[in-house]
């Protein structure tokens, strides 16, 4: 995308019918660290990569509880994401107070999308630079939506946003047809595996990702590091075992070479075992 004379104002159309400021806002989403969402009929899992600015700092919070039955994962300008999360919490609690009933997630995302649209049609505003993966329940079950700075929203079975999300999306595309009937545990495992895809080379550790779950009869909550590590251990071990078999001769896997590209679940480099 190159600079041009139609991209200064959000209220200026280009001759080809594009609003460049809105498209630049969507670029901001692509630069943020990855966030992943998937759903079955009864549960939604949101996961994200914890990227810290430097070794000295902690990572930013990218997943927010909106209500017991709604959670949101963001990618892009986290400051914008926090503001929108506050708005969502406010809408949810106001509805709960008036009707003593949870706000259906489908209605919340429409409110959110309409709010984002306003920023694409006022010359004194700018679009929100954040993409939101909203997971929640309503009368018809579990839903996952993606809200975009353009004011559009889409419903998904599974989706990933942010940097290197394409790798996660490819993984999800292969598996999404089975998610509807997945058990809660399988859904969590798939989410963590999708996160691993975005790491491309780094070892997957529980400290690198945040995972949250919500479902029918299960209010939104974060999984603790121990639980996440246990899930990681189930498939990391399998990958290491298979790598051991794939290497001819040196079956001890003592020095599995990085370029081997092990078999089994991982199609990227797994850190060699230290014996």
């Amino acid at each position: 995308m190159f600079r041009n004379q139609y991209d200064t104002d959000v209220t200026t159309w280009s001759p080809t019918g594009r609003l460049f400021q809105v498209e630049y806002a969507m670029e901001a989403v692509k630069q943020g660290s990855a966030a992943i969402g998937l759903r079955s009929r009864s549960h939604v899992v949101l996961a994200c990569v914890n990227k810290a600015q430097s070794e000295l700092s902690s990572h930013q919070k990218k997943i927010f509880k909106v209500d017991d039955h709604i959670g949101v994962a963001i990618a892009g300008l986290t400051a914008d994401g926090r503001v929108l999360s506050r708005y969502m919490r406010s809408e949810a609690i106001n509805h709960s107070f008036t009707y003593e009933s949870p706000l259906p997630v489908g209605r919340l995302v429409v409110h959110l999308a309409d709010k984002a649209q306003v920023c694409t049609q006022r010359s004194w505003k700018r679009p929100y630079g954040v993409g939101l993966l909203v997971g929640g329940l309503d009368e018809s079950g579990a839903h996952l939506y993606y809200n975009c700075p353009s004011g559009n929203y889409f419903e998904y079975q599974a989706f990933a946003i942010g940097s290197r999300s394409q790798a996660a999306k490819t993984y999800l595309e292969r598996r999404f047809e089975s998610f509807g009937d997945s058990s809660r545990e399988d859904l969590i495992k798939d989410a963590i595996l999708a996160v691993r895809e975005t790491l491309q080379g780094e070892t997957l550790k529980s400290s690198l990702c945040t995972v949250s779950v919500l479902g029918v009869g299960e209010p939104f909550h974060f999984l603790d590091q121990e639980t996440i590590q246990k899930v990681i251990d189930t498939f990391e071990k399998v990958a290491e075992d298979e790598e051991g078999e794939a290497g001819e001769g040196d079956a001890e896997a003592a020095a599995a070479p990085a370029e081997q590209g092990g078999g089994g679940a991982g199609d990227q480099d797994v850190a060699p075992m230290e014996m």
Binding site: T98, Y99, S101, P104, G106, R107, D138, E139
Partner: protein, 245 residues
């Protein structure tokens, strides 16, 4: 003499002229509503009278109305305020339907919405002068609740408003069961309504019973109860009385 045109509701209490802007007493009123949960849903009974003080002025007022797909609203008290509430709920249901998304307002949601409205009005010293009964069925679950003009709200298996609280509820406390059939439920309500007819001076002998189940709402045609006035003790009521009673 100061004359200030009331601009906002802050004036509602401070300004004598502003009194004409808020409800101080009711004018045309409906009397009791009696409602019970039964096996398949909720039954609600009311008469069709609208009293103007002590005059039984209007005899064809429907005080029980269907709200959306899942609820029934009955009201006693000021009839014009009931009509205002029906307008609020009409808008609420309309907006809910416009979402067209498979979600719909159930009786619990409507009841809570009404509680908020009634309580808010009470706080502004401008109440909607009604006691409302909200019944309904959604996803197989029956719901029955009440809201008063001061915003007191609760749920129960059987509720009544006005005189019904004093005359009907004792009967219901004794005779209500969770598994009442439709026929038994109607008989029980008629028993309550008959007592009210004898003893409540604002009651008239023209009533409707409404039913709500998972399938929907049915409001009966108006009908009358059989009454008996030939008790011997009433033929010569003062015989044996001492003093001027």
């Amino acid at each position: 003499m100061t004359f200030t045109i009331p601009i906002d509701n802050g004036d509602a209490l401070k300004n004598a002229e502003a009194d004409s802007q808020r409800t101080l007493y009711p004018y045309v009123t409906g009397t009791s509503i009696v409602a019970i949960k039964y096996k398949d849903g909720v039954l609600m009974a009311s008469d069709m009278g609208g009293s103007y003080g002590s005059t039984l002025r209007y005899k064809n007022i429907e005080r029980v109305k269907a709200i959306g797909k899942h609820s029934l609203l009955g009201a006693s008290g000021e009839i014009s305020d009931f009509q205002e509430i029906l307008r609020y709920l009409d808008e609420l249901v309309l907006n809910d339907n416009m979402w067209d998304d498979g979600n719909s307002l159930g009786p619990k949601e409507v009841h809570n919405y009404l509680t908020r409205v009634m309580y808010n009005r009470r706080n502004k010293f401008n109440p909607l002068w009604n006691t409302l009964v909200l019944g309904g069925v959604k996803n197989g679950e029956s719901y029955l609740g009440m809201v008063s003009m001061i915003g007191v709200s609760f749920e129960d298996n059987h509720v009544a408003t006005g005189f019904g609280n004093h005359l009907a509820r004792p009967i219901l406390r004794d005779e209500w069961r969770a598994d009442l059939s439709f026929e038994d439920g109607v008989k029980l309500l008629e028993k309550c309504m008959r007592v009210l007819l004898y003893r409540d001076r604002s009651a008239i002998n023209k009533l409707q019973i409404a039913k709500i189940t998972e399938e929907g709402v049915t409001v009966s045609q108006p009908y009358s109860l059989k009454t008996f006035w030939e008790f011997q003790a009433f033929h010569n009521p003062t015989a044996g009385a001492q003093g001027s009673w």
